[in-house]
Structure formats: structure tokens, C-alpha cells
Symmetry: C3
Subunit: 286 residues, 3 copies
């Protein structure tokens, strides 16, 4: 039994596109196991695709093959690549920035270019707009079941030739912590920064402390308030905001049972930054 193939796209599940990818994988080998990361990446949003890989890949077994197809340049001369992460996972994707976060936070061992002429679904030459099916699912399946090796997929590419999106590093200036607001917890409206939990410890912040939270958009202050640093959402009343440690062990802000993002009109990306510092102790009344 081979490894799992895990698919991510911005295709949605409303039509037959993702199922055709599954079908191609099962045609490569009927015993293959195919699973999903998500197919609801906002259309063309390479940043979010990159983040979702970073959020998820490490929880899968080593050897798992990820295929990520958010591909506004499909059919153009952008390259198709396969990479092996330092954690022992494979990712097949267009070379358009989709492995930005994995490259930066987890590390890549090797990257190879996929030959789109030689390595594609037989008889798919006339189709130029569905590489998700004809190139990515096809090669992902072959790699997952061991029909082709990582090395056979293509020639080595230098890491510095790989496209990466700009990232902003989290910073610790004295007792002030700053980071970018990287992504939205879609269903619950919480906002995830790239400030690691360890930074809070470094400056002596503990659950139960009050924090002054400031949010900037393109350098302009758009939100400021004193929030409880809570261990769980249930530590504050319904409707109250909080600072918490998210499931990637980074700093997040949320509202218990409501959407921080919608209530305060806060977006995500490197234009949005979160600043956190210890505030004078505030007594939260019951």
C-alpha cells in the first residue's frame, strides 16, 4: 500500500473538477487513497494556499503526497514543481509561491521541475486549462503509489529559483511583540498572527494577564483594546474578545462565539499587523 494523496484546490466541490482528479488518481492505481486538504481556497489566492499547506502538512504521515492547485497562470510558462520538505512530505504545485510558508517555516530539502510534456495524463495534450487533472493529480498519484520516484519526476532546481511571496517576520522589541495577521479561521472569524507563543513567555506574559492589542492596516491603527490572554474561549463571556494560543501555537485574537474579523473589519495578509504588549491588570467582572 502506497502513501496518501492529499488534494488542495480553489475549484470548489460544486462541479466535476475535483472528482475528475480523483478519477485520474484511481486510474493510475485503483488501490490509491485520496483525501482532501480543502477545495475552498479563495479563487487565485496563492497566499492562503501556501498557509493551508503550512497549517496541515505536518499532521500527515511522512511520505504523504500533497497536490496544491491554485493556478492563475495555468497554461502559461510558469513551471510545475515537486518538492520534498524537511519533514519528509512531498508537494506538487505550480511554481507560483504556493510553498512560501512551508519553505520559510518548515524547510525544503529538494525541489525538482516536472516535465509537463513527458509527465502528463495520456491523451490530454489538447487540454491546456486543467493541469490539476492532467499534470498534478496524475503525477501526484504516480508518486504516492510508487509508480515513479521523486527523482524521476524531473531535474533538480535551485531553491533560489523558486517563487516565494513576501513574508513579514514576527518581532520582539523589548516587551512589545509584533507580527503579521496571516490568515482567518474561516468558520469562527478568529485571526491568526505569526507571533509564536514562546514570545509571550519570553516577555513574561501568562494566561490570565491583560494585554494591550493594537492592529494596524498599512501602518494605520485600526483597532486597540485591552484583552484577556485566555487559555480557552470559555474563559471570557460570549461576545467578548480575547487573545489566545491557536492550534499552530501562535498568537490569535478572537471573540467568543462571534467573528473578530467581521465585528472589527480586520483582514489578513502582510498589510495587517498585530501588536501585543502587557497591559496594567484589569479586573474582569462576572
Amino acid at each position: 500500500m502506497g502513501n496518501c494523496l492529499v488534494l488542495q484546490t480553489d475549484f470548489g466541490l460544486e462541479d466535476g473538477a475535483v472528482s475528475a482528479m480523483y478519477g485520474v488518481a484511481h486510474t493510475v492505481n485503483p488501490t490509491i487513497r485520496v483525501e482532501n486538504l480543502t477545495h475552498d481556497i479563495p479563487p487565485y489566492d496563492i497566499w492562503v494556499a501556501s498557509y493551508r499547506l503550512y497549517q496541515t502538512v505536518k499532521y500527515w504521515p511522512q511520505g504523504t503526497v500533497f497536490v496544491s492547485v491554485v493556478d492563475p497562470g495555468v497554461g502559461s510558462n510558469r513551471r510545475s514543481i515537486v518538492c520534498k520538505t524537511r519533514s519528509g512530505h512531498y508537494i506538487i504545485t505550480p511554481d507560483n509561491g504556493s510553498i512560501t510558508h512551508i519553505m520559510h517555516y518548515e524547510g525544503i530539502e529538494e525541489i525538482r521541475g516536472i516535465d509537463e510534456v513527458k509527465s502528463r495524463l495520456p491523451h490530454s495534450e489538447e487540454s491546456h486549462t486543467f493541469h490539476g487533472r492532467d499534470i498534478y493529480a496524475y503525477n501526484g498519484a504516480r508518486l504516492a503509489v510508487g509508480e515513479i520516484t521523486f527523482e524521476e519526476l524531473g531535474a533538480l532546481l535551485p531553491a533560489e529559483s523558486i517563487k516565494a511571496l513576501p513574508l513579514v517576520e514576527a518581532e520582539k522589541n523589548g516587551s512589545i511583540l509584533t507580527g503579521s495577521i496571516d490568515v482567518l479561521d474561516v468558520r469562527f472569524g478568529s485571526l491568526w498572527s505569526n507571533i509564536p507563543s514562546s514570545y509571550l513567555k519570553d516577555v513574561g506574559v501568562e494566561p490570565g494577564d491583560s494585554l494591550q492589542v493594537t492592529i494596524y492596516h498599512q501602518g494605520n491603527k485600526v483597532y486597540q483594546n485591552i484583552l484577556l490572554f485566555a487559555k480557552s474561549f470559555a474563559d471570557v463571556s460570549i461576545g467578548e474578545p480575547l487573545v489566545y494560543i491557536n492550534s499552530l501555537v501562535n498568537v490569535g485574537v478572537a471573540v467568543n462565539q462571534d467573528s473578530f474579523s467581521k465585528l472589527y473589519h480586520i483582514g489578513t495578509g502582510i498589510d495587517w499587523s498585530l501588536q501585543v504588549r502587557k497591559a496594567p491588570k484589569v479586573i474582569f467582572e462576572d
Copy 2:
């Protein structure tokens, strides 16, 4: 080969949360088979989570392990439990009412408390807000593949210590049947009551009869009409309401190819009740 692990959450499929749960399960054992109940439970809606388990569990093979994570109290001191149903299925979930319907309508054989310190994904101690991944998927996978037994998951809990949401029983007063409107058939807008089909038989109602249907919200009448008791939606014209027997063999009300819930502004839960009685025969013209 072990049993299936079936996941239910209110996380949606837009981000990496559910995929991380799948990954954890596959890391426990790469041969595991994971499937979904639904991930679109309305956020924090424990009642609907409980109903969807009741609607679905019995159609899966005995031994199937269900993990249901609608968990507004994640990280608080609410307990994590695993139960064995009288039908031979397992459910792992927070102790917050998520097994209300199963407990009442199907019956529970045994309930155990899960030790959240001992039985959790290795190295996940710093994360307090994603028990779906760190505790529920992890232990669900171990139980499904037989890496741990039901008994080993934790100590017995008395049934009367388990949290249950209030239910309203269906009633038969002479020829008048009353029940709560428990849930919405989301895609089609039909409303499902807890009045069993057998009650209609008991009072001599047969397909083709006309029924007087009254709906109350918090005791106030909000809808009344004479409806055909139809065997199938196609027995009435498009746009016409009907009474029918739903897939759980309870009484439902619907509009053929439209939404009863939206057209008449009818909600669900124990505040909403449905009353049905035989009406004088009405001739439906073609």
C-alpha cells in the same frame, strides 16, 4: 482492517482543520479509513450535532467510531467522553449534550471519561483550542483501528452525570398528535418532527387523507392549513405543501420543490411544535 472513523464538526471545510484531523488519524495508522458525517453543523449548535448523530449513526456498521466536535467549551473543564450505543456504535465527543438524541431514542450501553492529559496527540500540550485534532481525532483513530480498547480510554461514568439537552416527547391526545419540530432538511427546506409514523396509523390516518396542520412557536399559533398526507412529494403540484413520512419514519412537512421553512418562516427546536389531526376530506383539483 479496523472500523471506520466518521467525523462530524462545525469547522467547515474551508481551511485545514478537518484535514489536520484526517492527518492525525492516518498518522495513528496509515490503513485507517476516515469518512465524514458533516462538517457544516451551524457553529456551536449542539442540538443539531446531536440530531445528526441520531439521524446517521444507525446506518453505519456496528463498531464504527464517530467523533463529533461541536465544542464551544473547548479548553474549559467540560469533560471528554466516549460512549458505546445500544446499537454497537462508538461516539467520542465533549460532554455537552451532543449525545442527547442518541441517548434518548437509541440508548447508551456505557459511557467513559477520556483522560485529556494521558490520551492526547503527543507534543500537543501547548494547544488548548483544537481538541478536535489533539484529543478527539487522535483517540477516535486509536479506537477505530484497535490500538486502544473502549475500556482503556477511561473510567466508567454514571449515565445520570452526562449532560443532556431538554427534549419534548411526541404526544397522542385522542386523535390529535403533537411533537416538536426537531430539525431542518437543510437543502430542501422541509421540517422534521418527532411524531412517529406509527401515531398516524394509530389514529387511522392513511396516505391520501387530508390533515389539519398547526404550528406553534412558544405556544403561539404561527401556521395553520389543510395539507394532503402524501406518500411522495410528487403527489402534490410543485409549490404545494404536504405532510409526509421522512427518512427516519417520522412526520414531516414540506413544499414540493420549495422551502416550507422559508416560505412560512418556521424554525426548529423545542420551542417549535407541530400539531396534526385528521381534517374533513378536501378534494384537490388538478
Copy 3:
């Protein structure tokens, strides 16, 4: 190991309906592999269900069993059928037009009627409104794992007795190509016609040529413009329309990173037709 069972419905994934179908399939045989085509067919839209089968079936291995349940007539006297396609796939569905495109474009080898009394989920006799679970998933699973043969599912039906929706053929009149706008690429808003790519070649059109595109609704002209016939979306600027060859190797129209359908209010179905002809060469400026 048997063949895959692939499910398509208009049930959505918000409640327990699809999971109950999965459960029934796993109860038939716990080793079965069940996958999805889509569950987001617009409610009652048999045309789209038929198109999605046509779009997807051929990418799955021979022997795959498809179950398609878009079934406004559930519980009425419409028949349940199983067909074997010329490509070696099986489809189980109500006889309501759901195999229109497959029948026309791929060809059917044999069609049989399913006995809804004999071949149904045991103890499901009282449920008349969920044949997806009680008849289709149940029989699909039995066929996929080899518990019953195609022949045993029911008696042969004459092809001419099978319900088909009206189709409009693509036409080539001199250098003018006309076809129907069959379906929407839901996520990206592109429109797919039934004009084969080969027709463009026949009239000497090549990538880089300019085409005059006219769209008619019920015979009335609703759109006309000169568009580039591009090999990939990236050949035009963001926001610009184009003609391209879609993943079924038919002619489509799109807007790079926007929705052609929404921008120009274009729908789908046989009332909508697309006309394409070579235009005088236009220079597209950078």
C-alpha cells in the same frame, strides 16, 4: 477488492443524508471505497446532473459504479435504472433524464430496470422519500463489490424507453460555428459550449486568432464582442474576456480572474447559444 462507488446528489453535505448513504454502502461491505462526484447539483436540476456525469465518468477506471440521485419524482412511479456505458462504467439513477449527455456523447451498452420492492435496503419499506439511501446507495454498493451482477439487478429495458432531455447539436455552417451553452464552470464563472475544439481547426482558427463571439438567449442577441482565442487564461490581462478550449476539449468563454457569466448575465441550457466566427485580426496592446 471491488470497484469504487461514486456518489452524486443534490442533497448538499450540511446534514446526515450523504453520510447515511455512505453508511449503507459500508454496511453492504465494510471494505467498499466510496467517493464523491458532487453533492451540490442545484436542487432538482437533472440537466446539470446529466452534464456532471458526462464531465467526470470517463476519468474513472472501468467498472466504477456511479450513483446519481437528483430525483424530484422520488416515491412516484418513475423507474429506477442501472446502465452500462460504452466506456465500461455503471450508472444507477432515476429514469428522469440524468443520463442524457452520457447516452448522447458516450453511448450506452445496456439499460436495466431495478426492482424497487425486491432490491432495497432491508427494513426500509416505510420510507418513501429517501431512495438515495434505500435503493441507490444500497444497490450501487452491491454492484461495486460484486454482491450482485449488473444482470441480476433487473430486466433489460429498451433504450428508446429511457427518458432523455432535449439536446441541441453543435453546428458548422461555413465558417460560423454554433452550439448551446451547456454548463457553468461554477467557481470561475466560465461558460462551456458543446462546440468541439475540432470545429475550430476545421475552419482554420488557431490560438492567437481573434474571434467574433455572439451569444443568444431564446434567439435574441444578448452579447457580442471580439475575443482572443487564447491557449491559456494568462494570455490575456486580468479582467479581459477570452475564448479557450476547456477540459472536455470544447469551446468555452471566460474572463481572466473574473466571472463571464456574472459580468454579462449569461445563463446555461439549450435556450442559450454561442456563435463563434473568425474576426479581422485585432492587435491586443500590452
